[in-house]
């Protein structure tokens, strides 16, 4: 069984983040390495059902080319399952271009909420957590600590706006009070100092407990801690952030997975998208083995069904939400070098599954599959 892996050659999410004077910030490496480790780890159990695993990497400049590549891979190589490492617009394009085909697309790196809502699709599976799950995790933590007065600072990009919107929904769900909601810009223009000066941005009449930054590229956020008007912890773009995975996670066998990845990748730490790629591979193989069938219809039904149990090394068996194909999962709350807490934070309960306290729940769901 060969799995496909789709990526864009010039994906701006992977540009080495260079700030002024070519200072490199986070360089995000491609999560293909996570898929490769997934193949290695799943080889033995696949072998038990006489299945050899393969991975076909497809890199294109345009999303439209990827659609052609999927069709070709399907007819020529019998590839039905594709890991997808693409930004939001490309995901939507590829989803639209593959409607009605016997394929499943696994989103391993894009958290945009719209992909789980207006732009959802029956053949689009989300292994990577939504931004809403991530902001819910932060909000739960703030709620349980009773740090419920928040100063929200939001950047100008579309991604920042989407994140901020998600956080506002999370704040409402968890009864946090956003005392002020201010935009920021990266600039030195003194005429805009109300938007670019950290001390001014964080000087308010009402007090707040914490500052939450909606800053997806992190260039502004890194200058916020300790420069604020009031001494307050920072979350989101700097300080404590919601993470899909963490290189220092100590529990549930995580160190073993992390060290296997490290050894296979010259000392690079496993990041969230790597983990998601690894889980995607494992899920497909598990569905094959436990579902007992190699047929696309049977395997995909089992994968999306109630009996599915995926060990993602987060301590609890994972499966997909039937209303939007999002993988239910714990979210880590971490600094740069420690996991401070995990969500669902202890104390938050749900009628059916506590993991559904993170992300869009069934009754709020707006995604419909045909």
């Amino acid at each position: 069984m060969t799995l496909g892996y789709l990526e864009l050659a010039d994906d701006t999410r992977y540009e080495a983040r260079r700030a002024y004077a070519r200072i490199g910030l986070k360089t995000r490496a491609r999560p293909f390495a996570g898929a490769e480790l997934g193949i290695v780890d799943a080889a033995m159990i696949a072998g038990a059902v006489d299945t050899e695993l393969g991975l076909k990497r497809i890199t294109s400049k345009e999303a439209s080319d990827l659609i052609g590549a999927i069709k070709q891979a399907l007819t020529e190589n019998d590839i039905h399952y594709f890991l997808v490492d693409l930004p939001t617009e490309a995901v939507s394009q590829v989803v639209a271009g593959t409607q009605g085909l016997d394929v499943l697309l696994f989103n391993i790196s894009e958290g945009a909420n719209t992909l789980r809502e207006a732009q959802c699709a029956a053949h689009l599976i989300h292994i990577y957590p939504s931004l809403r799950m991530q902001t819910d995790a932060l909000a739960q933590y703030l709620r349980i600590r009773a740090w419920d007065k928040v100063l929200l600072l939001a950047g100008p990009s579309k991604a920042d706006t989407a994140y901020a919107e998600g956080f506002r929904a999370s704040a409402k769900r968890y009864a946090l009070k956003i005392v002020e909601d201010r935009p920021f810009v990266m600039s030195n223009d003194p005429r805009e100092r109300g938007k670019n000066n950290v001390a001014l941005l964080t000087g308010t009449n009402s007090d707040y407990d914490v500052i939450v930054l909606a800053d997806q590229d992190g260039e502004f956020s890194r200058y916020v801690p300790f420069a604020t008007n009031r001494p307050r912890p920072v979350m989101g773009g700097a300080g404590l952030d919601a993470a899909t995975w963490h290189w220092t996670f100590e529990r549930f066998g995580a160190p073993q997975l992390n060290s296997r990845f490290l050894r296979a990748n010259d000392g690079r730490h496993m990041a969230g998208p790597d983990w998601a790629a690894w889980v995607a591979v494992k899920s497909i193989v598990q569905a094959r083995v436990r579902g007992g069938s190699a047929e696309f219809k049977d395997l995909s039904a089992y994968l999306r069904g109630k009996s599915m149990r995926i060990d993602g090394f987060k301590g609890v068996a994972l499966n997909l939400r039937p209303w939007n194909n999002q993988l239910r999962q714990p979210i880590l709350l971490a600094t740069h070098n420690a996991v401070i807490s995990t969500a669902p934070v202890e104390g938050f309960l749900h009628q059916v599954n506590d993991l559904d306290t993170l992300g869009v729940d069934q009754k709020e769901n707006t995604c419909t599959f045909p």
Partner: protein, 335 residues
């Protein structure tokens, strides 16, 4: 007393009258009486806590190498061996002096181990390189490195010594291994994240826990196939909270004790009917367990409350919890 292969070697089968057994015990060169102490491995303190069951408290701490986990008594019964995962050694502790007197180097991150039938070799699961290592104890050399699925953990040897079983946590399998030839003869797919084993005293069934699917798989040893799956659900708990890890079967083969991890309970299971007769509340994240040789008391290690719960087996209730070191992994009673 843990399972069949870790009991003080019985020089005669259990059915023989006690008088005869007693006479044999005092022959020179055979087993000495146990210290009566219980040993708890503490993963994060790098120590063993020594509990005196008569006082029900910790009377001593033994410093070990990094990350002590599974423990076994030597075949002669005069030493305690503990696998230390962060330092890649098995520490050997003299039970008279309660000090580390020797070390056996292993592969990366040894987690659990078992003795060969002749007592001359150890089978060690090395978590980090997915191997079952066969080590000659005297020479301290690796005789075989048998590849397993990722993250091997539980190791158990059949009574005749001809078969070794190892779990692979990532491959969801039990590997059936020929220890002499050094290869896997069969793979049995079980539940999600299989952990540890117990054999029924008659050797006919192998029980293995599947942590993330909340199950115990019962394997028929004649065919090496699963014949039954047992699920657990203490009252008030959700299935996802039930994470069984360790288990032990009574000497008469009638009762199995299963720790249920984050469900914070121990299950009492009737082996013949597979019925769960009782759930007893213990501490947080119940993993390791051991039973006194008179089978009156069960001890359970609670990894997230840093304590050991003492359970009255007949009354089926917890008696006391004893604080030990950080993140206790398992317990072994020297009696």
């Amino acid at each position: 007393m843990e399972n069949m292969t870790t009991q003080r070697p019985k020089t005669c089968p259990p059915l023989l009258p006690t008088l005869f057994l007693g006479a044999v015990l005092f022959l020179p060169g055979t087993v000495q009486a146990g210290t009566g102490l219980a040993f708890v491995s503490n993963e994060k303190s790098d120590t063993l806590s020594v509990i005196d069951p008569k006082k029900q408290e910790v009377v001593r701490e033994i410093e070990t190498s990094g990350r002590p986990r599974a423990m076994r008594f030597s075949t002669a019964g005069d030493q305690l061996l503990v696998a230390c995962g962060d330092d890649d050694v098995i520490d050997v502790i003299d039970l008279k002096t309660l000090e580390v007197v020797d070390q056996i180097p292993t592969g990366p991150s040894p987690e659990a181990f078992a003795f060969s039938a002749d007592g001359k070799s150890i089978f060690v699961s090395n978590e980090e390189d997915s191997m079952l290592e066969v080590i000659d104890i005297e020479e301290k050399i690796v005789v075989h490195d048998i590849p397993t699925g990722a993250e091997p953990e539980g190791v158990i040897v059949s009574e005749d010594g001809k078969t070794v079983y190892v779990t692979s946590e990532v491959a969801d399998m039990v590997h059936v291994i020929d220890p002499v030839g050094g290869f896997v003869t069969k793979n049995i797919i079980v539940g999600t994240r299989p952990r540890r084993f117990a054999l029924t005293p008659d050797g006919k069934e192998l029980w293995v826990t599947a942590e993330l699917s909340g199950e115990v798989y019962v394997i028929d040893r004649a065919t090496n196939e699963t014949k039954e799956v047992i699920t657990f659900l203490p009252p008030g708990m959700r299935p996802e909270q039930v994470t069984p890890v360790d288990l032990s079967i009574s000497q008469d083969g009638k009762t199995a004790f299963v720790t249920l991890g984050r469900a914070n309970h121990v299950a009492f299971v009737d082996v013949a009917s597979r019925k769960i007769e009782d759930y007893v509340l213990v501490g947080r994240r119940a993993w390791g367990l051991d039973v006194t040789s008179d089978e009156t008391t069960l001890y359970v290690t609670n990894g997230l409350s840093d304590d050991v719960t003492v359970v009255d087996i007949k009354g089926r209730k917890p008696l006391k919890s004893i604080p030990v070191g950080r993140v206790p992994y398992t317990i072994l009673i020297d009696d």
